[in-house]
Amino acid sequence: MRNILIGALLLLVSLWYLSFLAARLDRLHHRVETSWANLDSLLQRRAAIALEIARSDFADPASALILTSAAYQAREAGVQERSSAESALSGALSLLLVDDQSDVSTAAHLLLEELKLLTAKIRIAIAIHTDAVSSTQMVRRKVGIRIFRLAGTAPLPLTYEFEFDAL
């Protein structure tokens, strides 16, 4: 009788622990998705600004060409090649960001200001997203989660590599 009671108690505790783990993982998966959606929308906005800069009188024809192609590639890149495409766009943008902005027209100046604000946000968004991804990866390595397949069919989130110094 006593053994049955102890067994039942252990079962209850482990069931509670599994539900706790599942809730934890669910929250993390949710965060990976929302933080990615946020990062994605910021990056899309950046590509749009890059195109606008390329069309403005601020960019010379050669850099306009590079910028346009980089922006289109970043927009159309799949999940796998997204990181490198965005880094390429960062590189193309950094070519244009010269220290001396005295002879910049006001329209272009506004674009550059907007780009600067956006870049700061993108940095934070990347940090939040990579953090969510690495926490998720860590929790998914836990034995309980792997044995009981608590992750279900959700794909393991990819780490987003982004070259910070190019920003």
Binding site: S19, F20, R24, R27, L28, H30, R31, T34, S35, A37, N38, A120, K121, R123, I124, A125, A127, I128, T130, D131, S134, S135, M138, V139
Partner: protein
């Protein structure tokens, strides 16, 4: 840009009525956010309920425990947990911002109790943290609930990555730079003067390192004087100082913010000889904003605030000979001193609340993307939903 009015809940783990870096950070942030049109409620322990500002909710009387080389007045336990829960359930918050959530305090209780967009700011960076972070596996699920983590300095971020395997965005502590840039030079504080502000009786503030360096400094600069501001009894400290050098110390006692600004613009050098236990070094940011040329020990927090010596000179921590060397070199070179002070004053703008609070708000914005509000975690559990449904029938 956040255009709508937010309902923000801030949790301060330390007693509201004892002075401290975290407390003044939370107070300044709360007041900035209120002025920006947001609805802010701060939950903090307090000894004296009647002296609290309108936006602070008392969580109960704090308990004094030794922590990080000082006595921390914090609060936890079942009664505190009940208060935290009722604050969360009645607050209808859009976001919770918890300060120092890795120590057993009401910040940690709030993470346990709440579900939804939460941001945590980590202030401390010290080796004593290890004791606290040894319980990392218990903290992990709680810290994980934070949508975004903020560290106030690179040193605080490293403590976090080393002990809790999680990363954070670095956003410095804020100051109102304007308050310090309006200082006017005062005749009696000018000349070859070295400034020091802080609770000088605490050994980790390092005033004794400066007094040990004084014999060498006075050989090269015979008219050197040390101006010490801050609470404490000068008598005890002076007994330890060489009698011949005692007349070089001048104790100003507690000074106001505007006097601080005047002091910073009068002195030749501001000296920060702290030996550790400092996570950010707000006083250095204030000294830079006030236009002082700064000489600081090379502890991690100061090193990162001065960017490795670019915006102020560094000396080897706890080494009074090295301090003397750096001070003498700078007292002799007026151009270098003015150059450092000018660069430092420009750099101090990144600590201005206008910049700092905007960054914090953009973190809020990103944490809130899911669009959910703060609720009690227990309300979302399966059995609670079940019992609620039963009740509705």
């Amino acid at each position: 840009m956040i255009s709508r009015r937010l309902k923000i809940g801030l949790v301060c783990p330390y007693s509201w009525d004892t002075p401290g870096g975290v407390q003044s950070h939370v107070r300044d942030l709360a007041e900035y956010l209120i002025n920006a049109g947001h609805d802010v409620s701060v939950l903090a322990p307090a000894i004296e309920e009647s002296a609290l500002p309108r936006y602070v909710v008392n969580a109960g009387k704090p308990i004094a425990i030794p922590y990080n080389g000082a006595v921390a007045r914090i609060l936890f336990g079942p009664i505190a947990f009940a208060r935290v829960r009722s604050w969360i359930s009645t607050g209808n918050f859009d976001i919770l911002h918890l300060h120092e959530p890795a120590i057993p305090s009401i910040s940690l209780l709030a993470i346990w109790a709440a579900e939804g967009p939460m941001v945590g700011t980590f202030h401390a960076a010290a080796k004593h943290q290890k004791v606290i972070y040894a319980i990392g596996p218990i903290l992990e699920p709680a810290i994980e609930k934070l949508s975004a983590r903020i560290a106030v300095s690179e040193a605080a971020r490293l403590t976090l990555t080393n002990h809790l395997q999680t990363d954070a965005v670095v956003i410095p502590n804020g100051i109102y730079t304007k308050r310090y840039s309006l200082g006017m030079p005062v005749q009696k504080w000018s000349g070859n003067t070295l400034g020091f502000i802080g609770r000088f009786e605490e050994p980790r503030k390092g005033l004794s390192i400066l007094s040990d360096a004084l014999p060498i400094i006075s050989r090269f600069a015979p008219d050197v004087r040390v101006l010490v501001a801050g609470p404490g009894d000068p008598g005890n400290f002076m007994e330890l100082v060489d009698p011949e050098l005692r007349d070089r110390f001048e104790f100003l006692g507690q000074i106001s913010e505007s006097e601080k600004a005047d002091l910073m613009s009068s002195i030749s050098l501001y000296i920060a000889p702290n030996t550790g236990g400092e996570s950010f070094g707000i006083i250095l940011a204030e000294a830079l904003a006030g236009g002082a040329c700064v000489v600081a020990s090379d502890i991690p927090a100061f090193d990162s605030l001065l960017e490795g010596g670019e915006f102020g000179a560094l000396f080897k921590s706890q080494d009074s000979t090295d301090l003397a060397k750096v001070v003498i070199a700078l007292l002799r070179d007026r151009d270098e001193r003015e150059d450092l002070a000018r660069k430092g004053k420009e750099h101090a703008q990144i600590f201005d609340w206008d910049m700092v609070a905007e960054q914090i708000l953009s973190i809020y914005e990103m944490a809130m993307i899911g669009g959910t509000k703060i609720t009690l975690a227990s309300e979302n559990r399966a059995w609670s939903r079940f019992t609620q449904r039963e009740g509705e029938r």
